[in-house]
Symmetry: C2
Subunit: 152 residues, 2 copies
DNA sequence: AAAATTTATATTGTGCACAATTAAATTTGA
DNA sequence: TCAAATTTAATTGTGCACAATATAAATTTT
């Protein structure tokens, strides 16, 4: 029984730690770029979704980003305070809160356009390698969706 | 100027989001397994490091996991409360706090041995695919280390 | 050796994540 | 039709992450 050398519990062998460490480094790499826009990384993701399609509900944003209202509600209130989005109940269904870009929120897209360019420079990856890794991660994420969870 | 269809700002094109989403799903997949051990995911990582090599300082744990004292100090206090580790200043250098496994912390390793097995079943990946993705993520993380940062 | 600097940890404050609960609006179905 | 079930957000509470600062111990400089 050589417990100490059981490789399955070694940190450097873990896929989960490589993923966790890479994800935090990625967020850290975005930080200076997003600071310049006055956004945090999760706020940037919300803005990406809204730039793609405006006037989504909290639920729709949550489905897209896989985040619940416990995370989104305070985040969206901060974006509202920053003047980037508006929040109002839909008259068609008062349970739903519709999030819309303000003019400032819409304008920010142009300044944000440089963010992916800066990151591409930073990564020094071929377009193929980039896509391949991204798609491997998407596959991994769907593999990890809990069976009884209808998220996908 | 077709702003709306600029692909560089589409959420589904982003490597960063694929990474962020996969990392959160991975943590979520560990949660039920770690709940059974009374650990959170970051606490599990700390235990992995200590099972590999006991009696590390907070700084050494932080270097291994890339976490600072603001994260580790309260986490380690919770592990201490749970009876899994001890914390004491080193007599050789009173600035350093040495973290050691208690008997309970050491014993937990045997129960933790099933965690990687369960996750391997869940992932349904070949050993080669697993290693390849893990090593790609390690390469990505080093690529993202800030130039002036001596972390690697 | 005293002063300045460096190092190690802790503390404070902000912002996620996520589980659990609550409250209100809507839908369903007996 | 109206009570029960469902849906949508918000709230509460815990535990990370991480920046900034504080504090104390050790080391280096003068």
């Amino acid at each position: 029984m050589r417990k100490r050398t059981d490789p399955s519990l070694l940190l450097d062998e873990q896929l989960c730690f490589a993923l966790y460490a890479a994800s935090r480094r990625m967020t850290a790499a975005y930080r200076p770029l997003l600071d310049a826009l006055g956004l945090t990384y999760p706020q940037y993701l919300v803005m990406l979704v809204l730039w793609e399609r405006d006037a989504l509900t909290v639920r729709e944003l949550g489905e897209r980003l896989q985040l619940d209202s416990g995370t989104l509600t305070p985040l969206l209130k901060r974006l509202e305070q920053a003047g980037l989005v508006g929040r109002r109940r839909r008259q068609s269904d008062e349970r739903e809160v519709e999030i819309t870009l303000t003019q400032a929120g819409d304008n920010l897209r142009e300044r944000a356009a440089e963010v992916p360019r800066c990151m591409a420079d930073r990564l020094c990856m071929s377009v193929d390698a980039f896509r391949h890794l991204r798609d491997e991660l998407k596959t991994l994420a769907s593999q990890l969706a809990s069976p009884q969870d209808p998220r996908e």
